[in-house]
Symmetry: C2
Subunit: 354 residues, 2 copies
DNA sequence: GGATCCCGGAGAAACGGTTCTCCTTCACCT
DNA sequence: AGGTGAAGGAGAACCGTTTCTCCGGGATCC
């Protein structure tokens, strides 16, 4: 009984009669033998490990699971990786470099990389596939996936307009991540288009207390909006609390929408309309794209992903890395509908009015 | 220039003049050399990886980050591991076995292991240190950490009694995890002691919709409680919604407390008193205990942990594994205080009354 | 001046798998 | 009967570190 035979038997390789194979397996089982993952990795060059890098949000050292979006996304990513035989290592970008370099990673998912992230660049240079959640600024990545934030914001603004909003405000962040930037830009562009003066307040999104203050500021303005979209998860409760303080009824005096993955907004008083970024879908897609790249599957054609999630925009070939935009979902609840509105049928949109 | 010299120079070992050391480092840097993690792991037997196993909750395949507790705990654990040079691999207990055995783990954190978990047993047998969050039933573990759930529940019941509750109800789960079991038992024991008939409803905790239904059931009972403690995070909103449906004012007609790590309860109407299990503290402690075990540090004396978090109960030596109980924190808000109560001073407790 | 010691560094053996190559045996065919 | 081919299995190189041992040479010491 040679080492080769055992290895082949356990891995289903080589040309062995089934009898030998099963005998080896039986003995291995009885002995409680477990092959050394390190040795296997050393020889094969595959560790079965995928990094999940969450970049630091603002000043905070480590905001993984700070927002429900990340938590959900990470969960889906873990599941997706697992179902393809990979495990996920959570590695904040702020980690000490020695931790990073001490782990054999087959590839990395990076959430919302800042422009010119040195970490991503180094990984990419050293040949490790990198797929980013969030359209990367200047980093070279193997592929990326993002929501269609512009379409989402425009959809919400239209939705609020249809519900009768005359002046829509925005509660947004001070950070420069892709999400905040794209969303805010879409808002500003919309304002320019329809001729509304922008009404928005910004705050550091990583600071939960600041959100409440900013919500208050927004409703305290002389040009108080009659509808508000909050970009971050806690904004719904923040705005609701602020509205209560100012005696504003929702939705009668103030229409409310916020971006959130939490279902608490289904049971608030009133229930609040939310935009879901579908983090599960994003997480699953990102990981599958990454593993395709690791295993050399050509997903550049977008066949696998494209069938399930039609992309509005996908680049291919050399040059810019292939990106996939995925749709969001607006969950309409009472906070963005005037009482008169029937819930089943949306009123015809006045053509001339915005 | 030999291989040995390079290895020693890079790792700060051996006896080399600083000049050689820095020269090697400089060249390595210029070449973009990164040592192979796999080879190092193979040679040293240390991977720098620790597993974070979350057992499946009820029927759900994978409930990591389902509850804020887990999310927070995982976050703290990741941070703690990182700051000691380890990375965390998220590995649901339901993972395919081949994924498990394909990863070199130095140790594992397991959240709330069920009795006789085969996975934990195998790990423990094969010499991998295992530290559990949640007192383990019958699994052999290196150490464990848990909240003092009994004290927490008793504290809440006392708190509600002091606020004037005459009949306290419980919203609890159907699963058999330690948390649910200990908490429910504490409630039942308390009822027996004070002579109150238990008033509780159970539901599968992993099903968010079921919580609302159970909350409704509890308040629809003929022996409707005038105070309720909900064991799970969403119970606060569930109970609040149910109370609204029945026209019950909180806290006037119904006192409310729930166990939650979410700060949304600070801004609900009214704000709801919550019990925090301090998941960050738990996560940090668990990981540090595990790494101590991995590195052979004797934490059995509890010096490191004990200084920061005095344990009420800790076993040592052989026999049962050393466990640490950690205190919880009750965040008192309007929902558990009668309007008459002044918020700054708690009223003297009537001696005869419970 | 020779034995001793320390300094700086080189050699080589693991670590535990995977995999390419090769060898032996036996059946089969002509 | 000899050549051929396939089946089954054995050998050995290799993956890239760490670490133990050893070695040459210059300084030190008596």
């Amino acid at each position: 009984m040679s080492i080769t035979t055992v290895s082949d038997a356990l891995n289903g390789k080589g040309r062995l009669p089934d009898e030998t194979r099963s005998r080896v397996r039986e003995v291995a089982e009885r002995l409680g033998y477990r092959p050394s993952a390190a040795a296997r990795t050393l020889r094969t060059g595959r560790s079965g490990l995928i990094g999940l890098t969450v970049t630091t949000y603002g000043e905070e050292p480590f905001t993984f699971t700070e927002f429900a979006y990340f938590a959900e996304m990470a969960r889906a990513a873990t599941s997706a990786a697992l179902s393809r035989g990979y495990a996920l290592v959570v590695l904040p970008a702020s980690s000490r470099h020695d931790v990073w370099s001490n782990i054999a990673l087959d590839g990395t998912v990076v959430i919302d990389p800042p422009d010119q992230d040195p970490l991503v660049s180094e990984l990419y240079r050293s040949g490790v596939p990198v797929v980013s959640d969030g359209k990367p600024g200047n980093c070279p990545v193997t592929a990326w996936v993002d929501n269609d934030h512009e379409a989402a914001v425009l959809g919400i603004l239209d939705h609020l307009s249809e519900a009768g909003a005359r002046r829509i405000g925005l509660l947004t962040g001070t950070s420069t991540d892709t999400y905040t930037r794209l969303s805010t830009d879409a808002y500003l562009g919309w304002c320019r288009k329809v001729g509304q003066e922008p009404v928005y307040e910004t705050y550091p999104a990583h600071d939960p207390a600041a959100g409440a203050v900013a919500a208050d500021r927004l409703l305290a303005r002389p040009d108080r909006p009659d509808a508000v979209y909050g970009l971050f998860d806690p904004n719904g409760t923040d705005l609701l609390a602020a509205a209560r303080r100012y005696g504003l009824r929702v939705p009668d005096d103030l229409l409310l929408v916020c971006c959130s993955e939490s279902d608490v907004y289904a049971t608030t008083e009133p229930p609040i309309t939310t935009l879901s970024l579908k983090p599960r879908r994003i997480g699953t897609t990102v990981v599958n794209l990454l593993i395709d790249a690791i295993e050399g599957v050509d997903s550049g054609t977008g066949v696998d992903v494209g069938r399930l999630f039609p992309a509005r925009y996908r680049t291919a070939g050399t040059g810019p890395p292939p990106g996939t935009l995925m749709p969001t979902e607006l969950i309409v609840r009472a906070s963005s509908q005037r009482r008169s509105t029937r819930t089943t049928v949306s009123p015809p949109r006045p053509p001339g009015e915005v």
